[in-house]
Structure formats: C-alpha cells, structure tokens
Amino acid sequence: MAVIEAHDLRRTYKTSTGTIRRRSLEVEAVRGVDFAVEKGELFGLLGPNGAGKTTTIKMLITLLIPTSGTASVLGYDVVKDARAVRKLIGYVFGGERGVYERLSGYDNLRYFAELYGVPGKRIRPRIEELLELVGLKGREKERVEGYSRGMKQRLHVARGLLHDPPVVFLDEPTIGLDPVGARELRATIASLTEAGKTVLLTTHYMFEADALCDRIAVIAKGEIVAQGTPADLKAGVAEGAVVEVEVFGIPDGTVERVRELDGVRAVGVEERDQAQVLVVQTPADVELTHAILGQLDGASVGRVSRREPTLEDAYVALVGESE
C-alpha cells in the first residue's frame, strides 16, 4: 500500500465576476490527478504558479474536500477519516504567514504542540530538539515579528514536525528565501527522508526538485503531464537540443513567431540582468539558429549558444505542450 494515494482527484472552485450584474464562474483547479507516493520517498509535485499544486496538497491534508475522486494517507481517506489523517501528517507552507507574530517562537511551538497532541512530558524536549534541528536555538524567546523570513520559515518546519509525523507535506517551503537559507532548508528536507519520513514537496524550482526528489510529477493546468524520476523526465528530451539566444529587448510577438517555426518543440524566455534569453527546444538533428535570429526584427543580440537539454528544459517542454 502506498503512503499517499490520489485517484482521479478533482477540485472545482466557484467564483463570480462583476459587481452589479454578477456572473458565476467555475474554475477547474485540479482535473483528475493520479499518483502514489511510497514509504520513505520524497515525491515532488512540480508546476508553474496556478497549476494546481497547492489545491492538490490542501485536499491531501484535509483542508479542502475534493469535488470528485479519492485520496488517502496511510490508508485513511482524506474526507471520511480526516482526523486520523491529521494525526499522521505535518504541513509546512512557504512565506511569512502561519505564525503568531506577537508571541515568541517558543510560545508558537508550545501552542501547536498542544494542538498536535504531543504528550505533556515530551513537549519541552521535543521543542528543544526541533529548535536545534532548524537552527533557532537561542532565538526562541524572541517575538516572531522580529524574525527574518528564513527564521520564520524554519519555525514553520519545526511546527510541522512537532508531533513527529510519518508523512510531511511541504508546499513551496523555500519560496522567497535567500540562496543560503534555501540551501539550508533543502538540507533539512533531505534529512527528513533519511529519518524514514515520506515527503510530498511542491515547488516550481526545477533544480530543487532535481536535487531533492526521488520522483516527480509535473502538473500543469490541473493535470499531471509527466511522472517519473528526474532522470526519466530528462530522458524525454535527451534526444533534443536547446538553442539559447541572448536578446536586449525582445520585440513583441517574437515568442509566438518562433513557436510557429517548423521543428520548434518549446519556447521560453528567461530574464537575466539587462537581457532576456530566448530558450528554444528543437530536435537534435535540426539546426534552427538562423531561422530564430530571423524572427528577432533586428533586436540587439548577445551570446548565442546550443546545448544539451536539462531537467528544466524537460519541464518547460512538458508545461509548454499542455498550453
């Protein structure tokens, strides 16, 4: 039995537009998601903003009821056995929300330890262990409002682990952290599976998924478009090539024009300092550099290169195909 299972999971939101003439709308945030996470696995749900990652995770942690489909954690149904599921999971999300700012880090942990049912005698030693683990030892008596973003994030992680849950859900935990803080947090996340925990991580950082995850599901527009190990996903685009063109001010409509060129599989744009980099995926045996440069309408061009695809390219191709 898999630790986390989702079968044809769907979630629709009802919303409305207009002030006087209101019109109801239905938005399908998650459209039939299927996956299974095995014991001790670090499984990544990778996708762009609005792909349905957070909605999926919120259904799994019992905060949202699925519109249809089923999901379970350690055999417990997330709708029917919500309380049993809550005892077995930890939930950490990114950003600065989710803490009581006027109180100290210690008070925050003390309160949640009680809510998570940590036995009275275990509370103090458990908080001490976690403060040590997340590097907040010595700062726990300070009010959280004075913490840096990274410290608040580490406090979140400590909170999510208070009751030593066998399953941990991490929703974009490194979002907004500086590189050093993010690296430290990734090391902490990696140590969770070493301790035997099963982890589901959502992220839109490819390198993070590549570095941490045993398996990845790429989600776009509410659907899983690919699933496998990072190596499997890279293999999907391994026979291709990537042309990168540095442009100083991409003219309007360039991406659309390049996308229509014969042989182009996916097109993306990355911002780099003063320039943008047009990233074009092509088959390995097709040379499109000149054709791409011909679509730039005389814009100032910097470095042009051709390289082998990475996991990020695989991701861009997969997400691009779903559009």
Partner: protein, 257 residues
C-alpha cells in the same frame, strides 16, 4: 478528558497573552470603560440615588465584557485568516471546538478587565461608590458572566469560520444587546415581545446576578441560568461546528481573507 482541559487552559492563556499585546485591543480597553462609565453616569444622574447610579454603573461594566467579546471574536477570526493560521488550526488533529472556545473566553476575560476599569472610572470621575453586599457571590457572578459571554462569542465565532464577512455581525449585535439584556435600561421598560429574546441571552442573567449580589438579593438563580445558557451555547456550537467546518472545506473559504 485531562487533555481537553489542558488544551482549553493552555489555549486560554495563549490567546490571553496575544490579546494583551495588541495595541488596538489595548486602546479599546482604556477608552471603552471611560465611555461606558460616562454613559452610565449621565443616564442615571437625573434618577438620583446612590443605588441607581451603582445599578447603572454595573450594567455599563458588563457592557465592556460584551462589547469586547462581540467585536473581538470576529476580528480575531479575521486575524487568524490574515495570518494564515486558521488553516493550521483546522488542520490540527485537536477538536476544533477546544481550539475556538478558549479564544473567545480569552476575549471575554479581557472584557472582565473592562468591568473593573469601568467601575474604577465611575469611582474616580463621578464618585460612584461600589459597596458589594455579597462579595463571594459577586465574584462568582462575574466569572459566570465572563464564561457565558465567552460561550456566546464562541457561537458567533463558529459562524465566522464559515462566513468570512460574519465579523460584521459581531459589531451589529453589540448595541442591541446592551438594550435587550438590560445593561442600562430595566427589562420592564422594554416592549413585551423583546423579553423572550432577553431571557435567551446569557448576558441578561449575568448582569442581573452581578447586580443582585452587589446590591443585595439572591443572585444564585441568575448565576445558574447564566451558566446553563452558556453551556447550551457551547453545546449548540459544538453540534453545528463539524457541519460548518465541512461546508468551509467544501467551499474553500478557510484561506480567504
């Protein structure tokens, strides 16, 4: 059972600590009692008599408990939404009623401070003497009023979980309850059809118990009615809470601010 009592006590202390660090609530705590004591004094000065003034002053003091609870219960839930902690509270394995109840009782406890401050302002500014005939029953009456008003706040807070704009209701109920529960005006002066509503509201019996014990009378029946109604509010809240939470999860309103 022990764990539930522990959770209630710790949650109460936790929220009390947090509320006591709020500049907004602190400001209300200073200005409201002054305002209430002034109302009481000017309304009853014409009536004359030390007893009448004390009667009004005690009513005004209970206004503080109610106002603090009715307005703060909504804003506290709203604050939990803004801070993203409401989802964490719901996702915790503890019974949500045991999480919510200490929050509202902490508010009415802060309101109890309003009671003391109102009586003090009345003494300092207007010379209203507080002579309590039955001090022990007076203290019991105050505790009963605080707990049952907290329980009424809990019932309101249950609706705030589902309807994010319901906090406005808390403000809406603030003034009518002052009148309906006889904080300032004796119930006998109100129209007959209002009285059944008054009887169903615990603050009516809470303020009566406080007055009876201070001015000399038999407050025990009022204390029991007050606590009985408080218990009924909690039971009703607990009964509907699971359904309310399920609706909130189905309609995805927990994370909305």
């Amino acid at each position: 059972m022990r764990a539930a009592v522990r959770l209630l006590a710790l949650g109460w202390l936790f929220h009390l600590k947090m509320l006591s660090r709020s500049a907004f609530d602190g400001l209300l705590g200073v200005t409201w009692p002054l305002f209430f004591a002034t109302i009481a004094f000017f309304l009853f000065r014409a009536g004359g008599g030390e007893q009448t003034l004390l009667y009004a002053s005690l009513g005004a003091a209970v206004m503080g408990i109610w106002s603090m609870t009715s307005t703060s219960a909504g804003s506290a839930l709203q604050r939990e939404r803004w801070h993203g902690t409401l989802e964490l509270l719901v996702a915790a394995p503890a019974n949500f009623a045991l999480i919510l109840l200490p929050l509202t009782i902490a508010m009415s406890t802060i309101g109890a401070y309003c009671l003391v401050a109102t009586l003090l302002w009345g003494r300092v500014l207007f010379g209203i003497e507080l002579q309590v005939e039955q001090p022990l029953l007076f203290a019991v009456s105050i505790v009963a009023a605080v707990v049952s008003i907290g329980a009424l706040g809990f019932l309101l807070a249950v609706s705030f979980v589902r309807y994010r704009f319901a906090w406005a209701l808390g403000n809406l109920f603030e003034y009518p309850v002052w009148l309906i529960c006889g904080f300032l005006v004796p119930l006998s002066l109100l129209p007959g059809w209002v009285r059944p509503i008054s009887w169903a509201l615990a603050p009516t019996w809470g303020v009566r118990a406080i007055r009876e014990s201070a001015l000399g009378g038999s407050p025990l029946p009022d204390v029991l009615l007050c606590l009985g109604l408080g218990t009924a509010y909690v039971l009703l809240g607990v009964l509907v809470l699971e359904r309310v939470l399920r609706a909130a999860r189905a309609r995805a309103v927990l994370s909305l601010t």
